[in-house]
Symmetry: C2
Subunit: 306 residues, 2 copies
Amino acid sequence: MRAGIIGTGLIGRGWATAFARAGWSVSLWDHAPGAAALALSSVKMALDDMASVGLVADPSAAAARIRVSDTLPDALQDTDYVQESVPEDAEIKRGVFELLDRYAPAGVPIGSSSSSIVGSRFLSEIPGRDRCIVAHPANPPHLMPVVEVAPSLWHDEAFVAEVCGLLASIGQVPVVVRKEIEGFVMNRLQTAVVNEAVALVARGVIDPADLDAVMKHSLGLRWALMGPFETMDLNAPNGFLDYATRYGHLYQSMGRDLHVGEAWPDDALRTIEDSRRQETPRAEVGERMRWRDRALMRLMSLKDKL
Amino acid sequence: MRAGIIGTGLIGRGWATAFARAGWSVSLWDHAPGAAALALSSVKMALDDMASVGLVADPSAAAARIRVSDTLPDALQDTDYVQESVPEDAEIKRGVFELLDRYAPAGVPIGSSSSSIVGSRFLSEIPGRDRCIVAHPANPPHLMPVVEVAPSLWHDEAFVAEVCGLLASIGQVPVVVRKEIEGFVMNRLQTAVVNEAVALVARGVIDPADLDAVMKHSLGLRWALMGPFETMDLNAPNGFLDYATRYGHLYQSMGRDLHVGEAWPDDALRTIEDSRRQETPRAEVGERMRWRDRALMRLMSLKDKL
């Protein structure tokens, strides 16, 4: 099986890593000359890192299955699946999808990594729109396996199931977002947290570093293992409905008091930036990013064992 | 050092485990006859479980430091810190704090596990209110170490620092919530996620099990390692402010579209309950709760190593 990876920024590289790890061949193409070759070396490092925690058996063999393509038609040749990860701009995506639909083999599904733009805004006029669908990954895709498969009105259930099956076969976790909605699900949940967090700092309720501590030393630990509904289900003697009956009024009262719809005040953003630079000086950011990726791999490996 | 644990439900037991693990002696007292003795056996199991992943060196010695008290004054004798974990009801807490303040040794701080009621609603008329303060843990406290220390207007900085220092000395992670606000910080962030999640199910956007999958296979993985601000800081080339400039408009547009202030529709709650029972039948819930606690221990142990 061969995946065509179109656009080789952070997201495209993660997709390439995920497909290569799963035993697929991969073709890389990027609009910018030299970008795909650069991406290949980054993917090789990711495969080596994953091998070091037991997540890839043979990283050299996986890397050897990846080729860099100089032209878009070449990258699409002999593919069984194509994933677009170009910039988050409806016009750019529409232009790229016209080419992808023209050159990809007949019948091959083409996924878009769109993280907030709904499919009907850039796919509805593509001749082969039936095979073009939003398949939004987390960032980076090879370390956070969820993919939001978000059909548009013209897609049928069989095609959605085909794409989900393909993604599941490489170890990703597809979920179906059944209605076109801004931000799909993942980014809406993230926005709810981030906007309230910024508002709490803006009001002087908590320091930025302490807010981060609340997440990583409480809520985040549980959410790494189970989602909000299972969390609630296990936190009342008789399950989710029991929990909702006991505590629903608190959530609803608190919900009306949240500030998630407010703009981000400039001085709060500056306070957060200053706090971040105290915690992680600019010179150490690269190292911290590598720490994060290795930590995510260790976490992935732990979850495999649990 | 001795901690007096007042109220021995899930939260009180977790506090007892955390103090005993840190080498403290612990006195347990509960209003209901026999409850504290029952709690002790549960704490012993938790200490054994933690020992099995290397989080407690000598669980028998830790357990031997815990005693069950038949009377409240006995439980408070010779304590260096007292933690109240009685039901979430301002009247009940006020009554208990009158007794705690009367019988606890002079100068000993008394923390309240209040999870949403602000301190001024039940502490302002306690004679020794200067030493009584909200210290809200996550649930369970011994597996999720954050404690929200939430002073009221009458508390001075030195006392807040003393309580934070004491909690940090037993391995918890104290954060200061500087203003009295409903739900403090942790439960506001949780509410933001839960309310949006319920609304998305209510609108038919996503199935409950898939919503949980989005959290545990993407956002939750990262949030177990770093909070939302550090996440953003590491996701743009030039840090948090750069991220805010690039993506702030998306968060603010999405934020205005969130449904966190809406009531929970009954049919959505029923859909979620049905989904939970499909995923985890009633008979398997107890086993799943033990899985969760053991998984949290493994995660805690991994984070210690990272």
